[in-house]
């Protein structure tokens, strides 16, 4: 089963193509999308098991020897990310059944989702820098379709901005790849790492490192480059927003973590110092935004920015605690952001508004929604038995080991702000006097509740089962800590 690591990419791709043929048959679309994702989930779980047993899995397409063909590499880090991606997408698809509306489902909605998953999984798995660019474009073009699908005025307006920002950042990505190619003369990531080690990271490589930070920083929304995110993410409907919030920025974060642990490891003072300063500023900017709004969507969107900052702060420490904390927190954040967007989607569905000041007293009418929201909010803030705790603990521990006390104080203080921002939603929406709910005829929201409950329960299990997950996380952070494992796996022949 040497092709195993391609299955999580190819299966959604094939199903996306098949779905193109049944535009009008919504039930078939729904079933096939779910079936495809379940098959991909099975493949990716088996992939995690295989990577755990046999170490890093690699395959070079077309049987060309390693630096000459395109390598696909699945280490524990990317295998776990692929699995989480597929879980979240599967739940988003199920959530979409009741919340998207048939008008959108008629126009290749599920195909676009599956194409996007293809791109995300490909970007997580590839071992070739230009191939990563191509997979970025696959996921970006699918996301353009998803963000504009429906054609409301607001969506049109925001998607123009979103597409322009991404066109510019893709152009910068190509420029960076061109510079890197002219310096090292190769595109294979393991080979690039070897070549950079041979020439000992001269100044031009540091320039390229900063360029990569800019490119992936635009995708992953770090401090001065996050300006596009709040507007664009507020435009599409909730399931698409959940998909974007849980997956897209994390691809940028993954790319930063991969390049900064594999390529640019010889002069970490400047590059990783810069990454650390920017991540702290990202956290602060996100905190300001999360407290500033009375809009449900904006509060959670700014929480994405905070989480990106926390993950990159952990990654910038370059020690064992910091990196494994970053891996823990990255997976936690994908799950919990999906869950939070699902939950606020239901609150908006029930109350008919996303303005906090116009709602109240939902605890009396929708108690189960309230309790699940509370669990998710505590999980996001990192209350100990829940999922956000261990990642942040390790990140702070790593920062203390690396003597970055101020940074870790900011991270800890940001937890309070995060908690305050999501509890404010709880207080405004669930406590107080019940407001008159809009009396339009509505379907029950049970169809949305099921995937939400599954996701919240998964995040709780993620927190409770930390001990059981630890060996997987250790494998993931070991590859990041020791690039030689990755390089040997790719260039072994």
């Amino acid at each position: 089963m040497i092709n195993l690591l391609l299955f999580p990419i190819i299966i959604p791709f094939l199903f996306a193509i098949v779905l193109l043929f049944f535009k009008e048959r919504i039930v078939l679309q729904r079933v096939l999308a779910a079936v495809g994702l379940i098959a991909a989930l099975a493949a990716s779980l088996f992939l995690v098991y295989t990577v755990k047993q046999d170490g890093v899995q690699t395959i070079t397409l077309g049987s060309w020897p390693a630096p000459f063909g395109i390598s696909m590499v699945s280490d524990m880090f990317s295998a776990l990310l692929v699995t989480t991606t597929i879980i979240i997408t599967l739940l988003v698809v199920i959530y979409s059944y009741t919340s998207t509306g048939e008008a959108r489902e008629h126009y290749f909605y599920y195909s676009a989702i599956l194409f996007m998953v293809t791109g995300v999984n490909g970007a997580f798995t590839t071992g070739d820098i230009f191939n990563m660019f191509v997979f970025f474009e696959v996921l970006l073009i699918a996301s353009y379709v998803l963000i504009v699908l429906g054609g409301e005025k607001r969506q049109l307006r925001e998607s123009i901005k979103y597409i322009l920002i991404n066109v510019v950042s893709s152009a910068l990505f190509v420029i960076t790849v061109a510079y890197l190619y002219s310096v090292v003369g190769t595109l294979n990531m393991a080979d690039i790492s070897v070549k950079i080690a041979e020439i000992g990271q001269p100044g031009i490589i540091t320039v390229i490192a900063v360029l990569m930070l800019i490119v992936f920083g635009i995708k992953g929304s770090i401090f001065p480059l996050y300006f596009w995110l709040p507007g664009s993410y507020a435009a599409p409907p909730i399931p698409v927003l959940a998909l974007f919030g849980a997956l897209l920025t994390k691809v940028g974060v993954y790319a930063i973590m991969r390049t900064y642990t594999l390529f640019f490891v010889h002069q970490t003072d400047f590059t990783h110092g810069l990454l650390m300063v920017l991540s702290i500023l990202t956290i602060i900017a996100g905190c300001i935004g999360a407290l500033a709004y009375f809009d449900l969507k904006q509060i959670v969107i700014y929480n994405i920015v905070i989480a990106v900052g926390v993950i990159l702060f952990g990654a910038a420490q370059m020690n064992e605690s910091g990196l494994s904390g970053a891996v823990f927190y990255l997976l936690h954040d994908m799950l919990i952001k999906g869950a939070l967007f699902f939950l606020i989607g239901m609150i908006i569905y029930v109350t008919g508004t996303s303005d906090l000041r116009k709602m109240g007293g939902l605890m009396k009418t929708h108690p189960s929604l309230g309790w699940f929201y509370l669990i998710a909010a505590f999980g996001l803030a990192g209350i100990p038995p829940l999922s956000g705790f261990i990642g942040k603990l390790l990140i702070v521990e790593g920062a203390f080991q690396a003597d970055h006390i101020w940074g870790s104080i900011v991270v800890l203080a940001s937890s309070l702000v995060v908690l305050l921002s999501v509890i404010r939603i709880f207080i405004y929406a669930f406590w107080g006097e019940p407001q008159a709910l809009p009396s339009v005829e509505r379907k029950p929201y049970r169809g949305m509740m099921v995937p939400t409950v599954v996701l919240v329960v998964l995040s709780v299990l993620y927190g409770v089962g930390t001990e059981w997950l630890l060996p997987y996380m250790t494998d993931a952070s070991n590859v990041l800590l020791q690039p030689s494992i990755y390089i040997d796996a790719v260039l072994k022949e």
Binding site: V134, E137, L156, R157, I160, S170, V174, A178
Partner: protein, 112 residues
């Protein structure tokens, strides 16, 4: 030769940035097109502009030019072509919907 092309790329990027910062939607899209021209030229230059045969194996030419950047450019061209087509249709649709091609008229965010 590389210096000359690099200067040209610099000029193209300057024009592209100027156009991207303008208010007219079509000018902005033209800016993205010029930006993609610039980066394609840049890939070609960064691969080296040494003299050599076209990379087609026929007969015994001494050396060939680097074939890899050409494949990269071909990929980047079709991607930017697709994105530009999408962007043009989106601009058309936005014009139909809002009746304006001025990007300032597309603000309308009611922040508190």
């Amino acid at each position: 030769m590389e210096t000359l092309i690099t200067l040209l790329v610099g000029v193209l990027v300057t024009i592209a940035v100027y156009l991207l910062l303008s208010k007219n939607m079509i000018r902005v899209i033209l800016g993205t097109a010029i930006l993609s021209h610039a980066i394609h030229l840049l890939i070609l230059t960064m691969g080296g502009l040494k003299k050599g045969g076209v990379p087609l194996i026929q007969g015994e030419s001494g050396s060939y030019t680097d074939a890899l950047p050409q494949a990269l450019i071909l990929t980047a061209i079709v991607i930017s072509f697709a994105v530009t087509a999408f962007l043009l249709v989106l601009a058309y649709r936005t014009y139909k919907e809002t009746g304006s091609d001025n990007l300032d008229a597309l603000r309308g965010v009611n922040d508190e």
